[in-house]
């Protein structure tokens, strides 16, 4: 009997030694972090994925090494610029040390001035506009920006697919979509490619025009529109039995899972730029994170992954700045060492992240890696 008891205790000890749970000394002090997120309105589609990712990341590391606890102050931006500005003011009044902006580019641009005046370091996770950061600002972009995305897309099309003739479709109502389409157009022309059409498909007229346009001679379409418009375009291409390939911009699948779940099959074979691929090797941390997300359909969401990376950057800066001064935090968010992200290492250089970008192909609602660009 005694032998058995010793055996059981030894096993428990052994297992506890293998466990990666760390005991934290709790200081009782908390640091407030503001979170801006569109919980209502049209951008609601990415809020749930982003918030789940942030909460899962916090669950994995709630306390800093000194025992201070990270506490979120979450505000709904209502998917409007006014709502975002109002929410920002509320967070400013709460004396938050950092703001996590889980917002699209348009709404981040709306608070750019407020951020600058308040000097609150702001981490942007999913907004990719190239106009968000500035040399002396306080906004840092954890995701890739449109300039990088545009360069990657244009070079991939030219040097990997060997295509010369490309059409571009965009949504004029989205700053993100318009600016990325324009940057791509300029980059592709600069490297010797030809843009056959550059079309706004945000309304019926644009869709009609896309339907009527001759697609002969076009090898690929670069698409920066959201998933709802993309599905309309894909239906037209399917009806025409067109073999033209489509390269979509970041977050297309994540949006489609939310907005167009019945039409996901249409995305099979579509290329996309993303921060992640489903078939990359998953480490222990990544699996744990995915399990912490809980909701099965968002386990592979790029938005959730970027929230995790943003949280890592946040804790990295907090660990470097025990006094939590805004200047110190901003300095370390602006330029960081290499940080272990959920889909690879990344570092910050001049407010922008240096990280892997994936060109994936969508198959059965998952992203299959084609190439990784660093």
């Amino acid at each position: 009997m005694i032998k058995n008891i010793i055996l059981v205790f030894s096993l428990i000890l052994l297992l506890s030694a293998c466990s990666d749970k760390q005991e934290h000394h709790v200081s009782g002090k908390s640091i407030k972090v503001g979170v801006l997120v569109p919980m209502t309105g049209e951008n609601k589609r990415f809020s749930q994925q982003s918030v789940l990712g942030l909460q899962a990341a916090q669950k994995m590391k709630k306390y800093l090494n000194n025992g201070d606890e990270i506490v979120f102050e979450i505000r709904d931006t209502k998917s409007t610029q006014e709502g975002t500005q109002k929410a920002f003011k509320e967070l400013q009044a709460k004396d938050v040390k950092v703001i996590m902006a889980l917002l699209g580019s348009d709404n981040v641009l709306a608070i750019k001035e407020q951020v600058s005046k308040s000097e609150i370091p702001t981490i942007v996770t999913i907004a990719t506009s190239s106009f968000l950061t500035s040399a002396d600002g306080f906004i840092s972009q954890v995701c890739m920006n449109n300039s990088t995305q545009s360069i990657v897309a244009s070079h991939y099309i030219r040097d990997e697919k060997f295509y010369q003739n490309v059409g571009v479709v965009y949504d004029k109502n989205s700053h993100y979509s318009t600016s990325l389409a324009k940057e791509f157009r300029d980059d592709f022309i600069k490297i010797g490619g030809k843009i056959i059409f550059f079309l706004d498909v945000s309304d019926t007229k644009g869709i009609q025009e896309f339907n009527n346009i001759s697609h002969s001679g076009i090898e690929m379409i670069f698409n920066t529109t959201n998933s709802i418009l993309t599905m309309k375009l894909l239906k037209i291409l399917k009806k025409k039995k067109s073999k033209i390939e489509l390269l979509g911009s970041d977050g297309l699948l994540s949006n489609a899972i939310h907005d167009s779940k019945n039409d996901l099959h249409l995305l099979n074979g579509v290329y996309v730029l993303d921060h992640y691929a489903h078939d990359v090797h998953k480490g222990r941390k990544q699996k744990k994170f995915q399990n912490s997300i809980g909701d099965e359909k968002y386990k592979h969401s790029s938005y959730a992954f970027l929230s995790y990376d943003g949280y890592q950057l946040l804790t990295y800066a907090f660990e470097k700045c025990p006094q939590y001064s805004k200047e110190c935090i901003n300095k370390h968010i602006k330029n960081s060492d290499v940080i272990k992200g959920i889909s690879g290492n990344f570092s910050m250089q001049n407010y922008q992240s240096k990280r892997n970008i994936y060109v994936d192909k969508i198959e059965k609602a998952s992203l299959k890696k084609e190439v990784v660009i660093y």
Partner: protein, 632 residues
């Protein structure tokens, strides 16, 4: 159909809910319901009043009730509860309770047989000996599931065969050895019936005796796997099983003292088992009676071909069975003669060694895989190595020394001939075929181990001996020796030791694997020369470290090249495709060789930036060499 006008319904706590249903039956049968415990208490008073009882009881209580029914001459109808799946299955009853009630009340009972052991009535089975993990009744003590399981596992590894003498009703005496003898009335409920269909009916007027007689633990484990197959599809009796069917048996056992029954009771040996035909009258479904038709064939059945006979029984008695079955004397003698011949050094062997080494050396110099394979086929080294293994297993010092001398001579001859050839040749090139044999890894040890098993297995069976050629190709003993000799000829000890390590890996891997294979095949129950085998095992452990280091390098190379091959870099707005990535080791230094594809020309600044980007992907400092291809 006629139904009984009066009947008792005997229920337990779980079947109370049936009272109302049975009492309000549509067949005009007047029912008196009574709890089983009350029935047993009051049995003397009510016994005479009743003729037919309907019972709905748990599985454990049914045998007990059958004994009562036999004693009081009652007829029985059984109504299983829907949750009693096992009972429903064995009675071929319906899952509809109303249907089962109708059958249970029919005045249409048929007699079933019961077995008496001495004077004790048994319903299911009695065991003399042990059948661990198949039928643990009587060996485990129901202390706790875990403890009983551990006990059964211990019994599993310590099965002993005992002498049994069984006399049938006709006076035929079967003397054999087995781990257990099981007396079965009706195999339907028994786990042993899953192993083989004994064609037994509950109305055939016969008892079935099953003798379990495994010659090895492996054979017993194989018997256990039969439990997962469908017995009705099996045409032949599984190995280790024999059975007898007769009206009565007298069972004697050499060392064992008692027969144990399912309920934990027992009877001292010897026992007399007799069948009581039509002992109890039963109501059951048509399907049940179809499968248990009345048989009057008085012929006894004796199936004992899988069991040791009277003389063999003495050899097996009171010994724990070995892990693997022993090979037959004849097979052993034949193999041993061949291996003795294989251990003798003669001129043919030396000439073949020289020829195969020179053939291998020329193949290596000309970088020709086909020629090297030819040399492997001519090489005679495998045979003495396999002989060493048998010598170690049987502690045959002569066989060990003869075959080791033969292997040693072969090695010296091979090294000398290939080094002399190297000195004579005017050029000194190192080909890819040579390089592929100077960095052995754990994978080579794996190849050697499986080749050793294949070699020993092929040697043991004449009919597959031709497969040794394939084994020789797989393990390739002579080419590494030839490379070693070439290394000596060049004075390059790196090549010499690297290739010799590969040969040595093959040598010890084959020996150890062959020892184990011969043992599994039953050429020795125990490894007699344990020290020698331990020494070989220690050698394997010793060489495993350098092999692991080489293997680790391969893994690192694979990871790095895999990580980079699909990688692209954007450096100063220039898109760089990594087409191929290869890692070379110069000592401990990793040199990364990249083949890049670009469109724009790369400057030194671009390359420096690229190097920085690549370096961030790895923890260790890398030296990078690139080859650039341009897209025009």
């Amino acid at each position: 159909m006629n139904y009984f006008p009066n009947a008792y319904f005997i229920y337990d706590e779980n079947s109370k809910e049936l009272i109302e249903k049975i009492e309000s039956n549509k067949f005009d049968t007047k029912i008196t319901s009574i709890l089983i415990d009350d029935f047993i208490d009051d049995i003397l008073n009510i016994g005479d009043e009743i003729e037919h009882v309907v019972i709905s009881l748990s599985k454990d209580k049914i045998p007990e009730f059958l004994a009562i029914a036999y004693r009081l001459n009652l007829s029985i109808g059984i109504v299983p509860m829907p949750s009693q799946k096992e009972q429903i299955k064995s009675l071929h009853a319906s899952s509809d309770i109303d249907e089962n009630i109708e059958i249970a009340l029919r005045d249409d009972c048929k007699g079933i047989d019961l077995v008496k052991v001495n004077d004790k009535l048994i319903y299911s089975q009695g065991i003399v000996g042990t059948v661990p993990l198949i039928s643990d009744k009587g060996i485990a003590n129901k202390r706790s599931f875990f403890r009983d399981f551990v006990y059964s596992i211990r019994k599993f590894f310590s099965i002993e065969l005992q002498k049994f003498e069984i006399e049938t009703d006709n006076g035929q005496v079967v003397t054999t050895a087995g781990s257990a003898v099981m007396v079965l009335n009706h195999t339907g409920n028994s786990l042993i019936s899953k192993i083989f269909n004994f064609n037994q009916s509950i109305r055939d007027g016969k008892i079935t005796i099953v003798i379990v007689s495994p010659f090895s633990i492996f054979e017993y484990a194989k018997l256990m796997t039969s439990l997962f197959k469908v017995s009705s599809e099996r045409q032949t009796i599984p190995e280790s099983i024999g059975y007898l069917q007769s009206k009565s048996f007298t069972i004697k056992a050499g060392k064992l003292k008692r027969m144990v029954f399912e309920n934990g009771e027992s009877e001292p040996l010897p026992v007399v088992c007799t069948i009581v035909p039509d002992a109890v009258k039963l109501n059951a479904s048509d399907r049940f009676w179809e499968l248990n038709a009345k048989q009057t064939n008085p012929k006894e059945t004796i199936k004992t071909t899988n069991l040791p006979d009277k003389n063999e029984a003495l050899n097996y008695m009171s010994h724990k069975i070995p892990l693997f079955k022993s090979a037959s004397e004849e097979r052993f003698k034949e193999l041993f003669q061949i291996l003795r011949l294989d251990a003798k050094t003669d001129t043919i062997y030396i000439i073949l060694m020289i020829l195969s080494t020179l053939l291998a050396a020329f193949g290596l110099f000309s970088n020709s895989t086909a020629v090297i394979i030819g040399a492997m086929l001519v090489a005679p080294l495998m045979a003495p190595i396999v002989s060493v293994a048998m010598g170690l297993l049987r502690a045959e010092n002569r066989l060990i020394s003869d075959s080791l001398i033969k292997v040693g001579i072969g090695v010296v001859v091979a090294l000398l001939s290939s080094s002399i050839l190297t000195l004579l040749l005017p050029h000194s090139s190192i080909t890819d075929e040579m390089l592929s044999r100077v960095n052995p890894t754990l994978l080579d040890l794996g190849i050697a181990i499986f080749s050793g098993m294949a070699a020993a297995y092929s040697k043991s069976f004449k009919e597959i001996a031709q497969n040794l050629a394939g084994v020789a190709i797989a393990v390739a003993l002579v080419p590494p020796l030839a490379v070693s000799g070439i290394g000596l000829g060049y004075g390059d000890f790196g090549i010499f030791f690297g290739a010799f390590l590969l040969f040595f890996t093959n040598l010890v891997g084959i020996i150890l694997a062959a020892v184990l294979t011969f043992q599994i095949l039953g050429f020795s129950n125990v490894v007699k020369s344990k020290k020698s085998v331990a020494f070989v095992f220690a050698l394997i452990l010793a060489i495993s470290y350098p092999l692991y280091v080489s293997y680790d390098k391969i893994i690192q190379e694979y990871n790095i090249s895999n990580k980079l091959t699909q990688q692209r870099f954007i450096v100063n707005h220039k898109y760089i495709i990594v087409d191929e990535a290869k890692v070379l080791f110069h000592g401990d230094t990793k040199v990364l060789e990249l083949k890049l594809i670009v469109r724009e020309s790369l400057t030194r600044t671009d390359l420096e930036e690229l190097k920085r980007s690549i370096q961030t992907l790895f923890n260790r400092k890398l030296f990078i060499r690139t080859q650039v291809e341009y897209i025009l």
